[in-house]
Protein backbone atom coordinates (compact mmCIF):
# COMPACT_ATOMS: atom_id res chain seq x y z
CA UNK A 1 0.00 0.00 0.00
CA UNK A 2 1.29 3.44 -0.85
CA UNK A 3 0.10 6.34 1.27
CA UNK A 4 -1.07 9.78 0.18
CA UNK A 5 2.24 11.12 1.41
CA UNK A 6 4.15 8.71 -0.85
CA UNK A 7 1.98 9.61 -3.84
CA UNK A 8 2.77 13.25 -3.17
CA UNK A 9 6.48 12.39 -3.02
CA UNK A 10 6.31 10.56 -6.38
CA UNK A 11 4.43 13.49 -7.92
CA UNK A 12 7.22 15.73 -6.66
CA UNK A 13 9.91 13.52 -8.19
CA UNK A 14 8.13 13.67 -11.55
CA UNK A 15 7.41 17.42 -11.33
CA UNK A 16 3.72 16.62 -11.64
CA UNK A 17 1.37 18.86 -9.77
CA UNK A 18 -1.67 17.22 -8.18
CA UNK A 19 -4.29 19.11 -6.21
CA UNK A 20 -5.35 18.24 -2.66
CA UNK A 21 -8.79 17.27 -4.01
CA UNK A 22 -7.20 14.82 -6.47
CA UNK A 23 -4.84 13.21 -3.95
CA UNK A 24 -7.31 10.73 -2.43
CA UNK A 25 -8.50 9.35 -5.77
CA UNK A 26 -4.98 9.27 -7.19
CA UNK A 27 -3.84 7.23 -4.19
CA UNK A 28 -6.68 4.69 -4.29
CA UNK A 29 -6.34 4.16 -8.08
CA UNK A 30 -2.59 3.86 -7.63
CA UNK A 31 -3.07 1.10 -5.06
CA UNK A 32 -5.58 -0.81 -7.21
CA UNK A 33 -3.09 -0.83 -10.08
CA UNK A 34 -0.12 -1.75 -7.88
CA UNK A 35 -2.16 -4.63 -6.39
CA UNK A 36 -2.64 -5.91 -9.93
CA UNK A 37 1.11 -5.53 -10.66
CA UNK A 38 1.79 -7.93 -7.76
CA UNK A 39 1.21 -10.78 -10.23
CA UNK A 40 4.81 -10.07 -11.35
CA UNK A 41 6.07 -11.42 -7.99
CA UNK A 42 5.34 -14.90 -9.33
CA UNK A 43 7.34 -14.53 -12.56
CA UNK A 44 10.15 -17.06 -12.88
CA UNK A 45 13.04 -16.91 -15.32
CA UNK A 46 15.84 -14.71 -16.45
CA UNK A 47 15.89 -11.25 -17.90
CA UNK A 48 16.89 -10.54 -21.46
CA UNK A 49 20.33 -11.93 -22.26
CA UNK A 50 22.73 -9.61 -24.00
CA UNK A 51 21.65 -10.11 -27.57
CA UNK A 52 23.78 -10.75 -30.62
CA UNK A 53 23.27 -7.23 -31.95
CA UNK A 54 26.13 -4.80 -31.99
CA UNK A 55 26.25 -1.02 -32.00
CA UNK A 56 26.03 0.64 -35.39
CA UNK A 57 28.49 3.51 -35.30
CA UNK A 58 28.76 6.34 -37.78
CA UNK A 59 31.28 9.06 -38.44
CA UNK A 60 30.55 12.35 -36.70
CA UNK A 61 29.81 14.48 -39.73
CA UNK A 62 28.61 18.07 -39.60
CA UNK A 63 25.30 18.31 -41.43
CA UNK A 64 22.80 21.10 -42.01
CA UNK A 65 20.35 21.45 -39.12
CA UNK A 66 17.26 23.54 -38.47
CA UNK A 67 17.89 27.30 -38.61
CA UNK A 68 17.83 29.06 -35.25
CA UNK A 69 14.56 30.91 -35.94
CA UNK A 70 12.80 27.60 -36.74
CA UNK A 71 13.98 26.09 -33.46
CA UNK A 72 12.88 29.14 -31.49
CA UNK A 73 9.48 29.38 -33.17
CA UNK A 74 7.68 27.21 -30.61
CA UNK A 75 9.40 28.57 -27.50
CA UNK A 76 7.18 30.87 -25.44
CA UNK A 77 9.97 32.90 -23.83
CA UNK A 78 13.11 34.00 -25.69
CA UNK A 79 15.93 36.43 -25.18
CA UNK A 80 18.73 37.37 -27.61
CA UNK A 81 18.16 34.29 -29.76
CA UNK A 82 18.12 31.92 -26.80
CA UNK A 83 15.31 30.00 -25.13
CA UNK A 84 14.50 31.43 -21.74
CA UNK A 85 14.06 28.90 -18.92
CA UNK A 86 12.84 29.28 -15.34
CA UNK A 87 15.26 30.24 -12.58
CA UNK A 88 17.63 27.50 -11.46
CA UNK A 89 19.06 29.27 -8.42
Amino acid sequence: MVTEKEVQHIAGLADIGITTEELGTFTSRFNEILDYFDVLDRVQGEGPASCDLSNVMREDIVEPSLPQEEVLKNAAAQEDGFIKAPRVM
Binding site: A14, E32, Y36, V39, G45, E46
Partner: protein, 433 residues
Protein backbone atom coordinates in the same frame (compact mmCIF):
# COMPACT_ATOMS: atom_id res chain seq x y z
CA UNK B 1 6.73 17.66 -55.84
CA UNK B 2 3.40 19.17 -54.71
CA UNK B 3 2.06 20.01 -58.13
CA UNK B 4 -1.62 19.60 -57.32
CA UNK B 5 -3.99 19.98 -54.41
CA UNK B 6 -7.22 18.46 -53.20
CA UNK B 7 -9.99 20.14 -51.24
CA UNK B 8 -10.69 18.39 -47.97
CA UNK B 9 -13.74 19.58 -46.07
CA UNK B 10 -15.30 16.52 -44.50
CA UNK B 11 -18.45 16.47 -42.39
CA UNK B 12 -16.64 15.49 -39.20
CA UNK B 13 -19.61 14.63 -37.01
CA UNK B 14 -17.55 12.05 -35.11
CA UNK B 15 -14.79 14.44 -33.97
CA UNK B 16 -12.25 12.26 -35.79
CA UNK B 17 -9.99 15.18 -36.73
CA UNK B 18 -8.16 17.70 -34.56
CA UNK B 19 -6.92 19.57 -37.63
CA UNK B 20 -8.06 19.36 -41.23
CA UNK B 21 -6.14 20.70 -44.23
CA UNK B 22 -8.75 22.38 -46.42
CA UNK B 23 -6.31 22.63 -49.31
CA UNK B 24 -4.04 19.61 -49.20
CA UNK B 25 -1.17 19.71 -51.70
CA UNK B 26 0.04 16.48 -53.28
CA UNK B 27 2.34 15.18 -55.97
CA UNK B 28 2.25 12.17 -58.26
CA UNK B 29 3.11 8.60 -57.37
CA UNK B 30 1.82 5.42 -55.80
CA UNK B 31 -0.58 7.38 -53.55
CA UNK B 32 -0.98 10.32 -55.96
CA UNK B 33 -3.94 12.46 -54.84
CA UNK B 34 -5.12 10.03 -52.14
CA UNK B 35 -6.20 11.76 -48.91
CA UNK B 36 -4.34 10.22 -45.97
CA UNK B 37 -5.08 11.14 -42.35
CA UNK B 38 -2.22 11.19 -39.87
CA UNK B 39 -2.51 10.54 -36.15
CA UNK B 40 -1.73 13.65 -34.14
CA UNK B 41 1.37 12.22 -32.45
CA UNK B 42 3.22 12.07 -35.80
CA UNK B 43 5.13 15.26 -36.66
CA UNK B 44 3.91 17.19 -39.70
CA UNK B 45 5.93 20.22 -40.76
CA UNK B 46 3.83 23.36 -40.52
CA UNK B 47 0.71 21.54 -39.25
CA UNK B 48 -0.19 21.70 -35.55
CA UNK B 49 0.65 18.47 -33.73
CA UNK B 50 -0.76 18.12 -30.21
CA UNK B 51 -0.78 14.40 -29.29
CA UNK B 52 -4.33 15.12 -28.08
CA UNK B 53 -2.83 17.13 -25.22
CA UNK B 54 -3.22 20.69 -23.98
CA UNK B 55 0.51 20.72 -23.26
CA UNK B 56 1.23 20.77 -27.01
CA UNK B 57 -1.61 23.06 -28.05
CA UNK B 58 -0.23 25.39 -30.70
CA UNK B 59 2.93 23.34 -31.34
CA UNK B 60 3.91 23.50 -35.01
CA UNK B 61 6.65 20.95 -35.82
CA UNK B 62 9.53 22.42 -37.81
CA UNK B 63 10.11 19.06 -39.55
CA UNK B 64 8.27 16.02 -40.93
CA UNK B 65 8.34 12.53 -39.45
CA UNK B 66 10.06 10.02 -41.75
CA UNK B 67 6.70 8.41 -42.62
CA UNK B 68 5.26 11.82 -43.54
CA UNK B 69 8.22 12.50 -45.86
CA UNK B 70 7.52 9.12 -47.48
CA UNK B 71 3.79 9.87 -47.82
CA UNK B 72 4.57 13.16 -49.55
CA UNK B 73 7.11 11.51 -51.87
CA UNK B 74 4.48 8.95 -52.88
CA UNK B 75 2.06 11.73 -53.85
CA UNK B 76 -0.32 11.44 -50.89
CA UNK B 77 -2.29 14.48 -49.71
CA UNK B 78 -2.01 14.98 -45.93
CA UNK B 79 -5.68 15.56 -45.18
CA UNK B 80 -5.43 16.28 -41.47
CA UNK B 81 -4.43 15.18 -38.01
CA UNK B 82 -6.60 12.73 -36.13
CA UNK B 83 -7.86 12.67 -32.57
CA UNK B 84 -6.30 10.31 -30.04
CA UNK B 85 -6.06 9.52 -26.36
CA UNK B 86 -3.60 12.02 -24.91
CA UNK B 87 -0.09 10.81 -25.85
CA UNK B 88 -1.62 7.46 -26.84
CA UNK B 89 -2.60 6.66 -23.27
CA UNK B 90 -6.00 5.04 -23.50
CA UNK B 91 -8.19 2.44 -25.17
CA UNK B 92 -11.19 4.61 -26.11
CA UNK B 93 -10.04 8.07 -27.38
CA UNK B 94 -12.01 9.52 -24.45
CA UNK B 95 -8.71 10.68 -22.90
CA UNK B 96 -8.21 13.34 -25.59
CA UNK B 97 -7.99 16.88 -24.24
CA UNK B 98 -10.14 17.91 -27.21
CA UNK B 99 -13.17 15.69 -26.55
CA UNK B 100 -13.87 12.07 -27.46
CA UNK B 101 -14.21 10.67 -30.98
CA UNK B 102 -17.48 8.82 -31.60
CA UNK B 103 -17.75 5.40 -33.23
CA UNK B 104 -19.29 5.81 -36.72
CA UNK B 105 -21.00 2.38 -36.33
CA UNK B 106 -22.86 3.59 -33.20
CA UNK B 107 -22.30 7.11 -31.89
CA UNK B 108 -23.15 6.09 -28.31
CA UNK B 109 -20.00 3.96 -28.32
CA UNK B 110 -16.27 4.66 -28.30
CA UNK B 111 -14.21 4.06 -31.45
CA UNK B 112 -11.47 2.36 -29.44
CA UNK B 113 -8.07 3.87 -28.97
CA UNK B 114 -5.72 5.33 -28.92
CA UNK B 115 -5.84 5.81 -32.75
CA UNK B 116 -9.63 6.31 -32.55
CA UNK B 117 -9.66 9.38 -34.79
CA UNK B 118 -7.81 7.59 -37.59
CA UNK B 119 -10.14 4.58 -37.35
CA UNK B 120 -13.30 6.72 -37.35
CA UNK B 121 -12.05 8.82 -40.29
CA UNK B 122 -11.50 5.65 -42.34
CA UNK B 123 -14.68 3.88 -41.17
CA UNK B 124 -16.82 6.94 -42.00
CA UNK B 125 -15.24 7.17 -45.46
CA UNK B 126 -13.72 10.62 -44.84
CA UNK B 127 -10.33 9.31 -45.99
CA UNK B 128 -9.26 6.15 -47.76
CA UNK B 129 -6.27 5.53 -45.51
CA UNK B 130 -4.79 6.69 -42.23
CA UNK B 131 -1.69 6.29 -40.13
CA UNK B 132 -2.05 5.13 -36.56
CA UNK B 133 0.42 4.13 -33.90
CA UNK B 134 0.29 0.98 -31.81
CA UNK B 135 2.00 0.77 -28.41
CA UNK B 136 -0.24 -1.87 -26.83
CA UNK B 137 -3.03 -2.26 -29.39
CA UNK B 138 -3.74 1.34 -30.39
CA UNK B 139 -4.11 0.50 -34.10
CA UNK B 140 -5.77 -2.90 -33.75
CA UNK B 141 -8.29 -1.98 -31.03
CA UNK B 142 -9.92 0.92 -32.92
CA UNK B 143 -9.72 -1.07 -36.18
CA UNK B 144 -11.68 -3.87 -34.47
CA UNK B 145 -14.20 -1.52 -32.81
CA UNK B 146 -14.86 0.48 -36.01
CA UNK B 147 -14.84 -2.47 -38.44
CA UNK B 148 -11.74 -1.60 -40.48
CA UNK B 149 -8.28 -3.15 -41.08
CA UNK B 150 -5.19 -2.09 -39.13
CA UNK B 151 -1.65 -3.48 -39.05
CA UNK B 152 0.94 -3.15 -36.30
CA UNK B 153 4.14 -3.89 -38.22
CA UNK B 154 7.11 -5.83 -36.86
CA UNK B 155 9.11 -3.59 -34.51
CA UNK B 156 11.80 -1.88 -36.59
CA UNK B 157 10.12 -2.05 -39.98
CA UNK B 158 8.72 1.48 -39.92
CA UNK B 159 10.86 4.40 -38.76
CA UNK B 160 9.75 6.13 -35.57
CA UNK B 161 11.67 9.32 -36.45
CA UNK B 162 9.27 12.19 -35.81
CA UNK B 163 6.83 10.09 -33.80
CA UNK B 164 6.44 11.87 -30.46
CA UNK B 165 7.58 9.09 -28.15
CA UNK B 166 5.43 7.46 -25.48
CA UNK B 167 7.03 4.00 -25.04
CA UNK B 168 9.86 3.56 -27.53
CA UNK B 169 10.49 -0.17 -27.08
CA UNK B 170 6.85 -1.05 -27.82
CA UNK B 171 5.42 1.38 -30.37
CA UNK B 172 5.23 1.26 -34.14
CA UNK B 173 3.53 3.44 -36.73
CA UNK B 174 1.21 1.40 -38.96
CA UNK B 175 -1.39 1.57 -41.76
CA UNK B 176 -5.18 1.62 -41.34
CA UNK B 177 -7.73 1.33 -44.19
CA UNK B 178 -11.05 -0.20 -45.18
CA UNK B 179 -9.44 -3.25 -46.77
CA UNK B 180 -6.29 -5.36 -46.67
CA UNK B 181 -5.05 -4.22 -50.11
CA UNK B 182 -4.97 -0.57 -49.02
CA UNK B 183 -3.26 -1.47 -45.74
CA UNK B 184 -0.66 -3.35 -47.78
CA UNK B 185 -0.25 -0.42 -50.20
CA UNK B 186 0.27 2.07 -47.38
CA UNK B 187 2.74 -0.32 -45.71
CA UNK B 188 4.74 -0.39 -48.98
CA UNK B 189 5.09 3.39 -48.75
CA UNK B 190 6.00 3.78 -45.06
CA UNK B 191 8.35 0.83 -44.43
CA UNK B 192 12.10 0.62 -44.90
CA UNK B 193 15.32 1.71 -43.27
CA UNK B 194 15.87 5.17 -41.82
CA UNK B 195 19.17 5.97 -40.16
CA UNK B 196 17.49 8.54 -37.91
CA UNK B 197 15.75 5.73 -35.99
CA UNK B 198 18.40 3.57 -34.34
CA UNK B 199 15.99 0.61 -34.12
CA UNK B 200 15.18 0.74 -37.85
CA UNK B 201 15.90 -2.38 -39.92
CA UNK B 202 16.60 -2.68 -43.63
CA UNK B 203 13.48 -4.71 -44.32
CA UNK B 204 11.33 -2.82 -46.83
CA UNK B 205 7.87 -4.21 -47.51
CA UNK B 206 7.26 -4.64 -51.23
CA UNK B 207 4.59 -7.32 -51.05
CA UNK B 208 1.35 -7.61 -52.99
CA UNK B 209 -1.28 -9.65 -51.09
CA UNK B 210 -1.92 -13.23 -52.23
CA UNK B 211 -5.05 -15.12 -51.17
CA UNK B 212 -3.40 -18.57 -51.36
CA UNK B 213 -3.07 -19.92 -47.81
CA UNK B 214 -3.16 -23.66 -48.56
CA UNK B 215 -0.96 -25.52 -46.08
CA UNK B 216 -0.61 -22.58 -43.67
CA UNK B 217 -0.63 -23.72 -40.05
CA UNK B 218 -2.54 -21.53 -37.59
CA UNK B 219 -2.01 -21.68 -33.84
CA UNK B 220 -5.13 -21.00 -31.77
CA UNK B 221 -4.15 -20.03 -28.20
CA UNK B 222 -6.59 -21.11 -25.50
CA UNK B 223 -5.94 -17.87 -23.57
CA UNK B 224 -7.58 -15.88 -26.40
CA UNK B 225 -10.86 -17.70 -25.85
CA UNK B 226 -10.86 -18.03 -22.06
CA UNK B 227 -11.99 -16.02 -19.06
CA UNK B 228 -12.67 -12.35 -19.73
CA UNK B 229 -13.41 -12.85 -23.44
CA UNK B 230 -17.05 -12.28 -24.36
CA UNK B 231 -18.61 -15.59 -25.44
CA UNK B 232 -20.22 -14.13 -28.56
CA UNK B 233 -16.99 -12.41 -29.64
CA UNK B 234 -15.16 -15.72 -29.15
CA UNK B 235 -17.80 -17.55 -31.21
CA UNK B 236 -17.65 -15.12 -34.16
CA UNK B 237 -13.84 -15.32 -34.14
CA UNK B 238 -13.88 -19.13 -34.07
CA UNK B 239 -16.16 -19.17 -37.10
CA UNK B 240 -13.71 -16.90 -38.93
CA UNK B 241 -10.82 -19.24 -38.11
CA UNK B 242 -12.94 -22.17 -39.34
CA UNK B 243 -13.38 -20.24 -42.59
CA UNK B 244 -9.58 -20.08 -42.90
CA UNK B 245 -9.51 -23.88 -42.52
CA UNK B 246 -11.99 -24.17 -45.38
CA UNK B 247 -9.55 -22.14 -47.46
CA UNK B 248 -6.83 -24.73 -46.91
CA UNK B 249 -5.19 -23.74 -43.63
CA UNK B 250 -4.84 -26.15 -40.73
CA UNK B 251 -5.27 -25.20 -37.08
CA UNK B 252 -3.66 -26.48 -33.90
CA UNK B 253 -4.48 -25.53 -30.32
CA UNK B 254 -1.65 -23.84 -28.43
CA UNK B 255 -1.03 -22.04 -25.18
CA UNK B 256 0.79 -18.84 -24.11
CA UNK B 257 1.19 -19.40 -20.33
CA UNK B 258 3.12 -16.14 -19.90
CA UNK B 259 -0.07 -14.22 -20.85
CA UNK B 260 -0.81 -14.30 -17.14
CA UNK B 261 1.87 -11.63 -16.64
CA UNK B 262 1.59 -9.87 -20.00
CA UNK B 263 -0.65 -7.01 -18.99
CA UNK B 264 1.29 -6.13 -15.83
CA UNK B 265 4.60 -6.42 -17.73
CA UNK B 266 3.20 -4.15 -20.43
CA UNK B 267 1.91 -1.45 -18.07
CA UNK B 268 5.09 -1.42 -15.97
CA UNK B 269 7.22 -1.11 -19.13
CA UNK B 270 5.17 1.53 -20.93
CA UNK B 271 4.69 3.74 -17.88
CA UNK B 272 8.41 3.53 -17.06
CA UNK B 273 9.32 4.60 -20.58
CA UNK B 274 6.65 7.31 -20.51
CA UNK B 275 7.99 8.77 -17.26
CA UNK B 276 11.27 9.41 -19.04
CA UNK B 277 9.89 10.42 -22.46
CA UNK B 278 7.34 12.90 -21.16
CA UNK B 279 9.89 14.70 -18.98
CA UNK B 280 10.57 16.93 -22.01
CA UNK B 281 7.20 18.66 -21.75
CA UNK B 282 8.00 21.52 -19.44
CA UNK B 283 6.77 24.62 -21.25
CA UNK B 284 10.24 25.82 -22.19
CA UNK B 285 10.97 24.79 -25.80
CA UNK B 286 7.31 24.33 -26.80
CA UNK B 287 3.85 24.28 -25.31
CA UNK B 288 2.22 26.72 -22.87
CA UNK B 289 4.76 29.03 -21.27
CA UNK B 290 6.43 28.11 -18.01
CA UNK B 291 6.67 31.05 -15.62
CA UNK B 292 10.36 31.92 -15.98
CA UNK B 293 10.24 34.08 -12.84
CA UNK B 294 9.57 31.03 -10.68
CA UNK B 295 12.08 28.34 -9.69
CA UNK B 296 12.18 25.54 -12.26
CA UNK B 297 10.52 22.85 -10.07
CA UNK B 298 7.60 25.15 -9.32
CA UNK B 299 7.35 26.37 -12.91
CA UNK B 300 7.42 22.84 -14.39
CA UNK B 301 4.98 21.47 -11.83
CA UNK B 302 2.46 24.18 -12.70
CA UNK B 303 2.75 23.69 -16.46
CA UNK B 304 2.51 19.91 -16.16
CA UNK B 305 -0.45 20.01 -13.76
CA UNK B 306 -2.54 22.17 -16.08
CA UNK B 307 -1.15 20.75 -19.34
CA UNK B 308 -1.43 16.99 -18.73
CA UNK B 309 -4.71 15.15 -18.17
CA UNK B 310 -5.32 12.78 -15.27
CA UNK B 311 -4.35 9.55 -17.08
CA UNK B 312 -1.09 10.98 -18.38
CA UNK B 313 -0.11 12.19 -14.93
CA UNK B 314 -1.10 8.80 -13.47
CA UNK B 315 1.11 6.93 -15.95
CA UNK B 316 4.09 9.25 -15.48
CA UNK B 317 3.78 8.71 -11.73
CA UNK B 318 3.38 4.92 -12.04
CA UNK B 319 6.52 4.79 -14.17
CA UNK B 320 8.44 7.06 -11.83
CA UNK B 321 7.45 4.75 -8.98
CA UNK B 322 8.31 1.52 -10.87
CA UNK B 323 11.80 2.85 -11.60
CA UNK B 324 12.43 4.36 -8.19
CA UNK B 325 15.05 3.07 -5.80
CA UNK B 326 13.72 0.14 -3.77
CA UNK B 327 10.96 -0.73 -6.28
CA UNK B 328 12.92 -1.19 -9.50
CA UNK B 329 13.58 -4.89 -8.78
CA UNK B 330 9.97 -5.63 -7.85
CA UNK B 331 8.44 -3.92 -10.89
CA UNK B 332 10.66 -2.96 -13.82
CA UNK B 333 13.18 -5.82 -13.59
CA UNK B 334 10.40 -8.41 -13.14
CA UNK B 335 8.47 -6.95 -16.08
CA UNK B 336 11.52 -7.46 -18.30
CA UNK B 337 11.74 -11.13 -17.19
CA UNK B 338 8.04 -11.54 -18.00
CA UNK B 339 8.60 -9.87 -21.38
CA UNK B 340 11.39 -12.36 -22.12
CA UNK B 341 9.07 -15.24 -21.20
CA UNK B 342 6.44 -13.91 -23.61
CA UNK B 343 9.01 -13.76 -26.42
CA UNK B 344 10.04 -17.35 -25.61
CA UNK B 345 6.43 -18.55 -25.64
CA UNK B 346 5.90 -16.98 -29.07
CA UNK B 347 9.10 -18.40 -30.49
CA UNK B 348 8.20 -21.89 -29.17
CA UNK B 349 4.74 -21.71 -30.78
CA UNK B 350 6.13 -20.27 -34.02
CA UNK B 351 8.53 -23.21 -34.34
CA UNK B 352 5.41 -25.24 -35.10
CA UNK B 353 2.91 -22.80 -36.66
CA UNK B 354 3.02 -19.99 -39.26
CA UNK B 355 0.59 -17.56 -37.65
CA UNK B 356 -1.48 -17.26 -34.47
CA UNK B 357 -5.16 -16.25 -34.61
CA UNK B 358 -7.71 -15.05 -32.07
CA UNK B 359 -9.96 -12.10 -31.28
CA UNK B 360 -8.39 -8.60 -31.29
CA UNK B 361 -10.45 -7.33 -28.36
CA UNK B 362 -12.27 -9.30 -25.64
CA UNK B 363 -15.53 -7.39 -26.25
CA UNK B 364 -17.27 -5.13 -28.75
CA UNK B 365 -16.83 -1.34 -28.45
CA UNK B 366 -17.71 0.02 -25.00
CA UNK B 367 -20.39 2.62 -24.42
CA UNK B 368 -19.00 6.16 -23.94
CA UNK B 369 -18.14 6.56 -20.27
CA UNK B 370 -18.48 2.83 -19.55
CA UNK B 371 -14.86 2.27 -18.47
CA UNK B 372 -14.56 4.78 -15.68
CA UNK B 373 -11.74 3.27 -13.64
CA UNK B 374 -8.24 2.92 -15.11
CA UNK B 375 -7.62 -0.74 -14.20
CA UNK B 376 -10.73 -2.03 -16.01
CA UNK B 377 -9.64 0.01 -19.05
CA UNK B 378 -6.14 -1.51 -18.89
CA UNK B 379 -7.58 -5.05 -18.74
CA UNK B 380 -9.24 -4.55 -22.14
CA UNK B 381 -5.75 -4.55 -23.72
CA UNK B 382 -4.93 -8.13 -22.70
CA UNK B 383 -5.18 -9.64 -26.21
CA UNK B 384 -3.20 -6.92 -28.00
CA UNK B 385 -0.22 -6.20 -25.69
CA UNK B 386 1.54 -9.57 -26.24
CA UNK B 387 2.43 -8.66 -29.85
CA UNK B 388 4.00 -5.36 -28.71
CA UNK B 389 5.99 -7.03 -25.94
CA UNK B 390 7.33 -9.56 -28.46
CA UNK B 391 7.75 -7.03 -31.32
CA UNK B 392 5.86 -9.26 -33.77
CA UNK B 393 3.49 -8.16 -36.58
CA UNK B 394 -0.24 -8.31 -35.90
CA UNK B 395 -3.26 -7.28 -37.94
CA UNK B 396 -6.92 -6.80 -37.07
CA UNK B 397 -9.62 -7.22 -39.70
CA UNK B 398 -13.42 -7.32 -39.47
CA UNK B 399 -14.82 -10.86 -39.14
CA UNK B 400 -18.47 -10.44 -38.20
CA UNK B 401 -20.74 -8.65 -35.77
CA UNK B 402 -22.12 -9.00 -32.24
CA UNK B 403 -25.11 -6.83 -31.28
CA UNK B 404 -24.63 -5.02 -34.60
CA UNK B 405 -21.06 -3.99 -33.69
CA UNK B 406 -17.94 -5.15 -35.56
CA UNK B 407 -15.65 -7.87 -34.20
CA UNK B 408 -11.95 -7.97 -35.11
CA UNK B 409 -10.00 -11.10 -36.05
CA UNK B 410 -6.37 -10.75 -35.00
CA UNK B 411 -3.59 -12.54 -36.91
CA UNK B 412 -0.10 -12.46 -35.38
CA UNK B 413 3.01 -13.55 -37.27
CA UNK B 414 6.69 -14.30 -36.87
CA UNK B 415 9.04 -11.30 -36.71
CA UNK B 416 9.41 -9.74 -40.21
CA UNK B 417 6.63 -11.91 -41.64
CA UNK B 418 4.19 -9.02 -42.00
CA UNK B 419 3.69 -10.34 -45.56
CA UNK B 420 2.27 -13.64 -44.35
CA UNK B 421 -0.02 -11.90 -41.85
CA UNK B 422 -1.29 -9.75 -44.72
CA UNK B 423 -1.86 -12.82 -46.92
CA UNK B 424 -3.93 -14.66 -44.31
CA UNK B 425 -6.02 -11.52 -43.73
CA UNK B 426 -6.40 -11.04 -47.49
CA UNK B 427 -7.48 -14.66 -47.98
CA UNK B 428 -10.21 -14.25 -45.37
CA UNK B 429 -11.34 -10.90 -46.77
CA UNK B 430 -11.53 -12.21 -50.35
CA UNK B 431 -13.45 -15.31 -49.25
CA UNK B 432 -16.12 -13.44 -47.31
CA UNK B 433 -16.34 -10.72 -49.97
Amino acid sequence: MAAHEITFEPDDRYNAFLTTCKKAPHGDGKLGGIAVAVKDNISTRGIETTCGSKILKGYIPPYDAHVVELLKKSGAAIAGKTNMDEFGMGTTTENSAFGPTLNPCDTTRVPGGSSGGSAAAVAAGMVRMALGTDTGGSIRCPAAFCGIVGLKPTYGRVSRYGLIAYANSLEQIGPMAQNVSDVSLLMQVISGHDRRDTTSYTRPYTHTPSPDIKGIKIGVPQEYFGAGVDRNVAEVTKRAIFRLEELGATTVPCSIPSMEYALAAYYVTCTSEASSNLARFDGVRYGPAADTKKSWHDAYREVRESGFGTEVRRRIMLGTFALSSGYYGKYYAKAQVARENIKKDFSRIFSDVDVIAGPTMPTIAFKLGEKSDPLSMYLADILTVPANLAGIPAISLPCGKVEGMPVGLQIMGKPFEDERVIDVAYAYEQAVG
